[in-house]
Symmetry: D2
Subunit: 133 residues, 4 copies
């Protein structure tokens, strides 16, 4: 299951090359991830209240075409893997017309509130699992 | 005329106090301003293509209550003044339930592409003017 | 007492107007404030560990000249007032050559870790007080 | 040749997990890259004035340990490859005490000011080349 989230690029996202600054794609990925979790019934804010943290262990972005100011772009988010202590998301960013702007992934490790590695709780695996869509 | 723009606070907007970082209200004000100009028929991206820049000369924020992660908040934008080389916007940020989180303003000076002060073009005054709503 | 803190503008600070984005001055003010508190012997990280928070109640920036990519700029920070539950800082941002780029202020309210307004602890008033310099 | 650049984490870099937000490592990598180019005699601002752009085609971060507010961290930058139209940088982020916090890389494609792929100019290859250190 792929969940879309749309965003209009603001001036503050651009740099002097006239395009969205490369770090801001990771902000966009996060917005896509939050939308995914919300739609699947486990908003990250709720997960965190239960004492489960999902910090990022690895992030990757391929930049294909630039995103411009005032353009509405869409991040399409899916879960590639949820198993043991790991959750892996992947992303595609497109323009309204469908042009592919960027792809990427983030890998996450489940931690408890004392920052110890834990298994992702079973109900969360159920909700996030790519098979259950 | 007051134009609303809604935004869901991401993790990247928060700081370790658990609230939206104070500088990010200025990003939100910008998103509100862009929405205002879009709705009024003069998107800032178009204005800039005509060679008119509206850089900020002054910005102010009053922080009343914190905005939290995953909350949807709304910035309500209006024009207070558009005259000569000046455009002044003001903002109110509220929660879904109506709680007031912040207020503020930004004052702008119209410049041409060589960064010389110019009068705001007449059609833009017309479109942005608070009387014409 | 005025404490200087120097910073080289990165690409990510600029926007497509080719200048530092207006919200990033509040990041710079924060860096100046942290430097001030560090130099005066009460780093903000230590203050927070004692359970005293100093969230911002008001922020203001006057933008005079743009800061450009790769320029080293300096924020000069001082305390204007520390009294009761309030701490007020003010800032001047200059270029290496002395040109004034921006001025501004931030007002802070002292809170305890339950977010209740408290008096600034006496030793902190002592350390921060503009008279004690 | 590895060039170090030190940075003190500000409040605005952290998120509500109490650690530096994952996107901000890409800002730090950029600061490291700028320092590298400055030290090697080809500041990126100069390169850009000659009409050579080096936008990022790929970015990767491994997050090992968190960076905390008010900590001074160091990014160690080197060039892995400069050849044809490509420049590849890699990075290690450490704490003062030497703890490894993160590693990563960015790959860049040389473009002219019309955004066409070009060979990296010979003198720039010379200056950036990892062999010439």
């Amino acid at each position: 299951m792929v969940i879309p989230f749309s965003y209009r690029v603001i001036y503050g996202d651009t740099d002097q090359m006239g395009v969205m600054y490369y770090a801001n794609y990771l902000r966009l990925f996060e917005a896509g991830r939050c939308e995914y979790m919300q739609v699947k019934g486990c908003p990250y804010s709720e997960v965190e209240k239960r004492g489960v943290l999902l910090p990022i262990s690895e992030a990757h972005v391929n930049y294909i075409k630039p995103a411009l100011f005032d353009e509405t772009i869409t991040v399409h988010t899916k879960v590639d893997l949820v198993k043991g202590a790991r959750v892996n998301f992947s992303y595609e960013v497109t323009k309204a017309q469908g042009d592919l702007l960027a792809t990427g992934f983030t890998n996450h490790a489940a931690l408890d509130s004392d920052r110890r590695v834990i298994r992702v709780p079973a109900d969360l695996i159920e909700l996030l699992s790519p098979e259950n869509c």
